[in-house]
């Protein structure tokens, strides 16, 4: 059975976000760490922790200068065309390249069309340089979250087969988390 994941939601009230995720058929979410660990959450950190943690985490950055850092798990792509050539040259294999749907909610039809073309292009690039495309909601409250079925529709719109995407994301997360040193609570 495929597990759907939204690796980026921002909210201090994580319990509320987890309840919303359950209703929306999202099995696991990614969020910032606020001092306590929850089940079905992968935490997003800016830097690798110096001590062993009791929670799973991924190190995330949107700074182009950190693209080649050995500790980086996810690079957030804000402006694809600006960073495309740098990505091809500098990106390390098997890292995640993340893009947020929240970025285009307010965009007009023309910009949304362009954005989806960028995602299709990014997906091709990910396949060619052996990286993982990560599509996240970037939600800042429960009503900005995206349900599992909606994610599947958006993936189809990006010419990505949902089953393949969720399976590849699962395998990629297993590999990334498998390399980390954390105590499974």
């Amino acid at each position: 059975m495929l597990r759907r994941r939204d690796l980026c939601v921002y909210d201090n009230n994580l319990e509320k976000m987890l309840r919303a995720a359950e209703i929306l058929e999202i099995d696991e979410i990614g969020s910032e760490y606020h001092g306590s660990a929850h089940e079905n959450v992968i935490y997003r950190l800016n830097r690798p922790p110096s001590l062993i943690t009791d929670y799973p985490y991924l190190v995330v950055s949107d700074k182009i200068g950190e693209l080649s850092s050995p500790w980086l798990d996810i690079f957030v792509v804000r402006d694809y065309f600006r960073v495309k050539s740098i990505l091809k040259k500098k990106v390390r294999t098997r890292i995640g390249l993340e893009i947020f749907f929240a970025d285009i909610r307010q965009a007009n039809g023309f910009s949304v069309g362009k954005w989806f073309e960028q995602v299709r292009d990014l997906y091709k690039l990910c396949n060619s340089i052996n990286c993982q495309l990560v599509l996240s909601s970037g939600a800042r409250c429960p009503r900005e979250m995206i349900s599992g079925r909606c994610f599947d529709s958006l993936l189809n719109l990006c010419n990505i087969k949902p089953e393949r995407y969720w399976r590849e994301l699962e395998e990629w997360i297993e590999i990334r988390l498998g390399k980390k040193c954390y105590v499974d609570a």
Binding site: K16, R19, A20, E22, I23, L24, F101, I104, R105, Q106, N108, G109, V112, G113, P142, R143, E144, M145, I146, S147, R149, C150, D152, S153, L154, N156, L157
Partner: protein, 110 residues
């Protein structure tokens, strides 16, 4: 005799902060859909307002099954944001599910 009825899907949408007027929500979705997918796709979807719950936070709309993907994508790209809570082939099943999950829904979204 051939069954000529369209296959439709019913969508329960959270509109808890009343970002959209209960009946104008279909108008707003149609407008965004036209902007993103064009007038032909929007007309083809035949979006309809069906109902709103007692507390006026969950709106039920319907659309043609063949255009469901387009509608779901449109709803994700709405501003102010709204969330698709459940989808069902029958109104009865959708209402049963909403009734069963109502407590969870309010805890999560209010």
């Amino acid at each position: 005799m051939l069954n000529r009825r369209d296959k439709r899907r019913y969508l329960a949408i959270w509109n808890g902060d009343h970002s959209y007027d209960q009946r104008k929500i279909v108008e707003a979705i149609s407008k965004r859909s036209s902007e993103l997918f064009g007038q032909i796709a929007t007309e083809k979807a035949k979006i309809r307002f069906i109902d709103i719950d007692e507390k006026k936070v969950i709106v039920i709309i319907s659309c043609k099954l063949e255009m469901l993907g387009t509608m779901l994508s449109t709803i994700v790209l709405m501003q102010p944001p709204i969330v698709v809570l459940h989808i069902s082939g029958t109104l009865k099943a959708l209402r049963t599910r909403m009734g069963r999950d109502s407590e969870k829904l309010f805890l999560a979204f209010l």
